[in-house]
């Protein structure tokens, strides 16, 4: 296992900020997944996305009808 020295969060010092860390080098690529795992992940995520809010409906509802008048 590759081990790094800790890095300070980049935004430390302010009360209302998210203090988010930055890796000293890019995170590593994971080994390739088995096809059945990839397919299961895609199916599960798609199902979850379909259970979520209807973003397209909300996006269309937010449009001002005046914009579409000729």
């Amino acid at each position: 296992m590759d081990r790094q020295e800790p890095l300070p969060s980049s935004d430390r010092g302010s009360d209302d900020l998210l203090r988010l860390p930055t890796p000293a080098k890019p995170l590593q690529e994971h080994p390739p997944l088995a096809l059945k795992t990839m397919v299961a992940q895609m199916e599960a995520l798609l199902a979850a996305a379909n259970l979520g809010p209807d973003f397209e409906e909300a996006r269309l509802a937010a449009k001002n009808p005046e914009r579409f008048r000729i």
């Binding site: 590759d2 969060s9 935004d11 930055t22 890796p23 979520g52 996006r59």
Partner: protein
């Protein structure tokens, strides 16, 4: 067949609060794209129980720093990247988070603005790979959640967390 449920259940049973971030959160905000690594946000106080719970499922850490933990997955479980933040930051994300259902498990994702902040922050790192994916994610989330780039809070987030010129870059990409 559930693939995320085991991870969610193991963390919940261990009493570890977590937030799903990264590509999965992007998709769950309505921007469709492929993603396989499951990114989790946890508080630093939770790191030890997170590690124990995941190792109990067969995960093995292969890269670790104070703030990041990457684990290789056993068969038929998603690869995991865990980002560790201080408790206050974690609670900020939780307080503004949104609930979703993944594999019949209730999970939390950051609200769109906090997720955009994380993506912008990642873009500031000179070591960041997949920068185009980050920009595409930010644009996708802004569009999917109908954010106005001129919105005061979003503008502050872009200026605060993004790299130099991020607002101009985003305005161009949003057309």
């Amino acid at each position: 067949m559930p693939i995320y449920a085991a991870v969610c259940r193991a963390l919940t049973e261990a009493g570890v609060p977590f937030v799903v971030i990264g590509g999965h959160a992007v998709v769950l905000h309505g921007h469709q794209r492929n993603t396989f690594d499951l990114d989790l946000l946890v508080a630093e106080v939770s790191l030890a129980p997170v590690r124990a719970a995941l190792q109990g499922l067969g995960y093995r850490p292969y890269f670790e720093s104070e703030a990041f933990l990457q684990l290789t997955a056993p068969s038929f479980l998603p690869p995991l990247d865990v980002m560790v933040v201080d408790e206050r930051t974690f609670q900020q994300v939780v307080r503004s988070g949104e609930s979703r259902v993944l594999d019949d498990e209730q999970i939390l994702i950051p609200d769109a603005k906090r997720l955009i902040a994380m993506k912008l922050h990642a873009l500031k790192a000179v070591t960041r790979a997949r920068r185009e994916q980050d920009w595409a994610d930010i644009v996708g989330v802004i569009r999917a959640t109908n954010q106005a780039i001129e919105d005061t809070e979003l503008r502050e987030i872009i200026d605060r967390y993004g790299p130099s010129g991020a607002f101009t870059e985003l305005r161009q990409r949003l057309g």
